[in-house]
Symmetry: C2
Subunit: 361 residues, 2 copies
């Protein structure tokens, strides 16, 4: 039994697998004769195992196309490199792209698949907690633009998501913490007791398998919301909790601040903004900050340049009629979305992020 857990609700299977080469092959064999495997170079060895298994079972996989890791790879040149690999192999419309890596890689490879011959099928194999809990689920693909993170992209659902649990063992600590930030976000959006679970797990995850149930619960929060609003006409915006400030912090820091670190800071800012708007309580806010800090995530950063961050927010995708819209917690497990917040309040919340929480906020 290689599938440890399945996440329900989406029109395609989302599974956590302890034998990804087998499960990927099982899902592809019979529906495609050829695959192009694209991988973050950090997991190129694992991608080679998947490609080898595919080829053994009659799905010709050819060489793995490796993309350098890191947020700076999230640009057109990486997409074009994948297109080149497809064209060199004379890929046809019936072929499938297999994307092995973290959130950067699945976002980029999904975008490349979506834009080759007006759309090849693709299968996501997230190898990091961020990818498993968030990025690979929901059909958003993207690259960055100089003026905004994930500004360029399309919706393009994968045919399946196979989270490669074995790959978690090799994930660097900082990348693991990034995933915990997304899991905390999911908990605040829609799973109150998940936050408690995150607060009780050991700081240094000794056994990746222990995280699988929590990663799956975070993915389930996302899957449930995406299923009700796949193209973000409304409620899907809830999943951007902490991300309006978070994306701006990432970009303003030239991606020195990691995605998860930025989201952690963004979650604090959202809590601060929520207090006066939704009556979000100090007690709930402290619960969140405690979980983030337990897992080594920042809740303040003196290096934040407030003006650069505010400017970066001006190209946020959730902007409407010139105003920024925020997702704000009501309590852990329930949020409101689309809330207009005054520029002064936003500035105040970002300024506060430069200092440790005072009076709990």
């Amino acid at each position: 039994m290689s599938v440890m857990r399945a996440v329900e609700g989406l029109p395609y299977p989302v599974v956590f697998s302890d034998d990804a080469p087998v499960d990927v092959t099982r899902l592809i064999a019979g529906c495609a004769s050829n695959a192009v495997v694209v991988a973050d170079e950090a997991v190129a060895a694992r991608a080679n195992e998947i490609a080898a298994h595919l080829s053994e079972r009659g799905v010709e996989a050819g060489p793995v196309a490796a993309i350098a890791g890191g947020e700076e790879s999230k640009r057109w040149e990486s997409v074009a490199a994948i297109h080149d690999a497809l064209a060199r192999r004379y890929a046809e419309r019936s072929w499938i792209v297999v994307a092995v890596g973290g959130g950067m890689l699945t976002d980029v490879a999904g975008f490349a698949a979506a834009t080759y011959m007006r759309g090849l099928r693709w299968l996501a194999v997230p190898t990091t907690p961020v990818g498993m809990a968030d990025a690979a689920v929901g059909g958003k693909t993207a690259i960055n633009h100089a003026l905004g993170k994930n500004l360029i992209g399309v919706y393009w659902d994968p045919v399946a998501v196979v989270a490669d649990v074995a790959a978690l063992a090799t994930v660097p600590r900082r990348s693991f913490a990034d995933g915990i930030a997304e899991m905390a976000k999911a908990a605040i959006v829609g799973d109150n007791s998940l936050l408690d679970e995150l607060g009780t797990l050991p700081r240094l995850p000794d056994d990746a398998a222990r995280w699988v149930p929590l990663l799956a619960r975070a993915a389930a929060v996302k899957a449930h919301i995406v299923a009700t609003d796949p193209r973000e006409q409304g409620r899907r915006a809830e999943l951007n909790l902490g991300h309006t400030v978070g994306h701006a912090l990432e970009k303003a820091s030239a991606y020195r601040v990691s995605h998860g670190e930025a989201v952690a800071l963004g979650l604090r800012a959202a809590g601060t903004l929520a207090h006066t708007v939704t009556g979000f309580s100090l007690e709930e806010h402290r619960r969140i900050l405690a979980v983030l800090e337990r897992h080594g995530l920042p809740v303040y950063d003196p290096a934040i340049d407030v003006e650069t961050c505010l400017a970066a927010m001006q190209v946020d995708k959730k902007r409407r009629d010139g105003s920024l819209r925020f997702v704000l917690p009501i309590r852990v497990g329930e949020v409101v979305w689309g809330h207009e917040v005054s520029p002064e309040a936003v500035r105040g919340a970002v300024q506060m992020l430069r200092r440790p929480p005072a009076d709990g906020w």
Copy 2:
């Protein structure tokens, strides 16, 4: 009455207008508060008129983003330039992109709209016969890849197509002939008497308005087929008649051969291949060649490099299981699609294109 003719069948309006600024504004006002007008620089003045009219009627249009004309602009750098223009104006998801120009421009601007914030709405304003009869209708967007024309792109329907009939007066003769090649293609695919009409119109179109009914009939052939198969799961492939060889000739000539010239040559090759497969008659073949030659389109080209052309065909989007699939005429007005043709037959048909028709073929 600014709408001279409307093409039915698609889920969005397709109209031929003799006052495009008015009709574009009528369609946008009330559903978008802001527009970004993108134009081929050859029609930048016309685009400015459209932008000015939009702004007068409360749709803030800002400056026109101009793209250099020509097939070489059909690349990512042009898409990125449009994205930059959108980001500089802090475009929001509710904004609309208005694409003014020929097939190159609407393909590129549609792709830029489709990939900004995972999809902005767009409105196509074709200004050339190719754009009106073919490119702007049907929701295909694209840029070229070094290994294949239109290899990169997505499906993204415009909210409307407003053919700018007034712009036809300024279309260069060669560009007009390109449109006639597409109209001949449409006739062969699904409108027998349209071919006769094309054969009776004067060689030098003195009055652009005379062409409107024929352009609309060609667009109607396309609209009808696209409506039954919007994502080219099957029958839409019929519209690629003459384009498998045509795209390869364009690319192999480094786009020295124009799209319409390449399609004219491709139509001849399709007729030649069809004879033995579908029993396509010499009489029908000669009807087609006569129309093409009447309007100054080539039916042979001694400069064709057969091997380069055959190599270029290997990345054709219609390739399946390693074989090239062709659309072949049965008679004018009826074609079959998905026909596998032997490599030897393809080579023979391309070789024949180097010489004038002998024995009528």
